[in-house]
Amino acid sequence: MKKSTFSLFALILFLFPVFMLVLQSVSETWRFQSGEGIQFQLDSFDVLLSDPNLWEATGWSFLIGTVVLLINLVIGLGTGKALTLYSFRGKSLVEAILLAPILIPVLAIAMGLHLFMIRVGLADTWLGVVLIHLVPTVPYSIKIFHNAYRQLGVSMMEQPLTLGSSPLYQLFTIELPLMKPAIRSVTFLTIVISLSQYAITAIIGGGNVITLPMIFFPFLDTANAAIMAAFSIWFSFLPFGMYVLVEGALLLLPYSKKPWRISQ
C-alpha cells in the first residue's frame, strides 16, 4: 500500500473519530438539524473531576492492570514455550482446555469462582480481582506466545543451549528481543480487557475495589453525550500510558535500537 493511501485511511478511520470524541466532550448537545452551531462548555470535565472516587479508581485500575499484565507475561511465555518445545499425548486437548475460558462467558463461571474465593478469603480483595481478570486474558496470551515461539522455530532455541546458555539468559537475549511484536500485542490486549471488566470486578471486588469501569459504566445510561465523551477520553489515557511504559521497558532489552543513539 502506498504511504499516502495509508495516511488517508488512518485519517478517516482513526484520527477523525478521535477528533469527534474530543469535540463532543467539550461541546453541548449537537442539534444540527435545527441549524444550531456548536456551543462549547467544560461542565463535562467538571463532573468527571468532581467524582470523589475518580483518582482512587484510576489508581486501582492501574495497579490491577499492571499485575495482571505481569502474570500474563509469565504464564504466557512459559506455557507458549512448553507447547512449542514438547510434544506429548493429548496435546491438542490441553491446548483446547487452555483456550476454553474465552469460549465460556466469564459471568457464567464468575459465580462459582466467587463461591470459591469467599471460602479461601479472596473475595472483596484486589488480589481476587487480579485472579478473576486472568480468566479472560490468559488464554489470549498463551495463544499469542505459542504462535510467536513457533515462528521463532525450535532450532533457534537449541542453538543457545548447545552454546551453554542458561534458560534465563536465553530468554532475555534471544527470545524476548525477537518476540517484541508479540509482547506488544499481549500488553495491549491484556490491559484493555482488564480495564473494561465491569461485572466480574463488581462481584469479586465487592465494592472494596473500585476500578474505573465501576464509575464509568453506569454513566452509559446518560443522555448527556459530553459526559460520556469526557469519561472515554480519561479512560483511554490509562492503556495509552501503560503502553508507553511497556515500550520503555522493551528498550532495556539487549540488542534494541535505542532512539537516543544515532543509527547508521
Partner: protein, 411 residues
C-alpha cells in the same frame, strides 16, 4: 506432598465453617428490639456502606455533597457510597448467602420492584425494620398501600420508602402547542406528525411502562389491571385493544416503526437532537437537570394523559449480612427525615418527589416543602396526584415483554 495434604485439610475446614451459620434472622430481631437511643448510640462512629446505581451525577452529588456530611454531623456515622448496579448487588448477595458469608460489605441497598421480589424470595434481606425508624413512624403514612406492596410484592417492613416517581411525557413546546390529552389524541397527533414519536422497546424499563399505560387505557378501567393478578383470559380484550392501537400507530412512528430505541437513553438522545419531538420517563422532574445541562431544549415541558400516569416508590433496605445494621438503621432514618427529603426535592441536586406526608410535618417545615420551586418543566403537585395510578404486579412486565414482540414487532 505433605504440603498438599495440609492445604486440602485447610480448605475443607474452611468449607465446613462456612456452612454452619444460620441465625441472622434472630440476631437482626434482637437489634431492632432495642430502644432507638441504643441503636443510635451503637451507630455512632461507625461506617455505613451504601450500594447504589451510580449513573446520575445529580443523585451522586446529593449523596456525596449533602447526605454524607450531614449524617456525619448528626449521627457521627460516615457514609460511603459505592456505585454498583442492583443486578450485580443481588448476585453478589446470592453467592454470599450460598457460601454462608456472614460478614458482607454492603450495609444498605437501594431497591424496588422485581429486584425486591427476588431479594425477598431468596432471603437476601435482613428482615423487618421500618417500625423502629422514628422518622418513618412520625412523618409517613405507614398504612399507605404504596409502602405496603412494591409491584405486587408485600413489603412487610423489609424496606423503607425513600422516594417516589411518576411517569410523565416530555415535549418541546416550541414544536407542539398543545400536547395530546389522551391516547386517542396521541394517535391522531402521530398520524399528523409521522416520524416524530417512538417509544423504547418492551425490554427497557421505560418502554415497558409506556406499554402498560396503553394496556391501562384499553381496559374498562385501569383498576381492572392493577388490582388483578395477571390472568391472560381476563385481560384478553384489553390486550387486543392494546395490540390494535400499537399496530395502528406503528407506520407513523420514527423510522416507520421498523426499529425501536433500545433504551430510554437512546430515545432521550433522539429527542435532544430534535429527531423526535416527545420523550418520556419515570421521575416527573427528570427533565430539569437535562435542560440545565443543555441536553434537552429549554422549551421542554411535560404532560400526562388520560387515564392517568403510573407512579411507584423506591426503597432502602438492609442485606442479610450487613456488618453494621445499627449504622444502617441510623442512616436510613436520616435519609427519610424531612430535612433530607426537602433537600432531595429541590431541583439543585436530584429534584425527586418525596413519599413523606406533608400534612404530618410541623407548620414551618410544611411551608418549606410547599415553597420548593421544582422547575418549569414539572407539573403541579395536584395535577400529578390527580393522574396517579399504581403499578400492576411485576408479572405484567414479563408478559408485556413477550407479547409485544409477538403481537407488534412480528406483525
Amino acid at each position: 506432598m505433605k504440603k498438599w495434604i495440609s492445604l486440602s485439610i485447610f480448605l475443607a475446614a474452611l468449607l465446613l465453617t462456612a456452612c454452619s451459620n444460620s441465625e441472622t434472622g434472630q440476631e437482626f430481631t434482637n437489634i431492632t428490639n432495642q430502644d432507638w437511643e441504643e441503636i443510635e448510640a451503637s451507630a455512632e462512629g461507625s461506617t455505613v456502606r451504601l450500594f447504589m446505581w451510580g449513573g446520575d451525577e445529580g443523585i451522586n452529588q446529593y449523596i456525596d455533597e449533602w447526605v454524607t456530611p450531614q449524617l456525619e454531623d448528626t449521627y457521627g456515622v460516615s457514609l460511603e457510597r459505592v456505585p454498583m448496579d442492583t443486578g450485580e448487588i443481588l448476585q453478589k448477595l446470592q453467592t454470599e448467602k450460598q457460601a454462608g458469608k456472614q460478614d458482607g460489605t454492603i450495609d444498605i441497598v437501594w431497591i424496588n420492584a422485581e429486584n425486591f421480589k427476588n431479594a425477598k424470595e431468596n432471603d437476601l434481606l435482613a428482615g423487618s425494620f421500618v417500625d423502629v425508624l422514628p422518622n418513618f413512624n412520625e412523618y409517613y403514612d405507614t398504612e399507605d398501600p404504596a409502602f405496603q406492596t412494591d409491584f405486587g410484592t408485600a413489603v412487610e417492613g423489609m424496606e423503607a420508602p425513600w422516594g417516589k416517581v411518576q411517569f410523565v411525557f416530555h415535549y418541546d413546546s416550541e414544536k407542539i402547542e398543545t400536547p395530546p390529552a389522551s391516547f386517542e389524541e396521541l394517535k391522531t397527533w402521530v398520524e399528523e406528525n409521522p416520524g416524530r414519536f417512538t417509544y423504547p422497546n418492551a425490554e427497557d424499563f421505560t418502554g415497558n411502562a409506556f406499554l402498560r399505560h396503553v394496556l391501562y387505557a384499553n381496559a374498562e378501567q385501569p383498576s381492572d389491571i392493577y388490582e388483578q393478578p395477571l390472568d391472560e383470559e381476563q385481560i384478553s380484550e384489553a390486550a387486543e385493544g392494546t395490540w390494535t392501537y400499537l399496530n395502528d400507530i406503528k407506520p407513523n412512528l420514527w423510522r416507520s416503526g421498523s426499529h425501536y430505541p433500545n433504551s430510554l437513553t437512546e430515545l432521550d438522545r433522539l429527542y435532544s437532537q430534535g429527531e423526535v419531538w416527545m420523550t418520556m420517563g419515570y421521575n416527573e422532574a427528570r427533565a430539569e437537570s437535562l435542560i440545565e445541562e443543555g441536553v434537552f431544549p429549554e422549551s421542554t415541558e411535560s404532560f400526562v394523559m388520560e387515564p392517568g400516569s403510573i407512579g411507584n416508590t423506591h426503597f432502602l433496605s438492609i442485606p442479610f449480612n450487613s456488618t453494621n445494621p445499627e449504622g444502617a438503621l441510623a442512616a436510613i432514618n436520616f435519609m427519610l427525615s424531612p430535612e433530607a427529603q426537602l433537600e432531595k426535592l429541590k431541583p439543585d441536586y436530584w429534584g425527586e418527589n418525596t413519599p413523606i406526608s406533608i400534612d404530618r410535618l410541623p407548620e414551618e417545615m410544611k411551608q418549606k416543602f410547599q415553597s420548593v420551586d421544582r422547575g418549569e418543566s414539572v407539573l403541579s403537585q395536584s395535577e400529578l396526584e390527580e393522574s396517579f395510578l399504581p403499578e400492576s404486579e411485576a408479572a405484567y412486565v414479563e408478559w408485556m415483554e413477550e407479547q409485544w414482540f409477538n403481537e407488534v414487532v412480528q406483525q
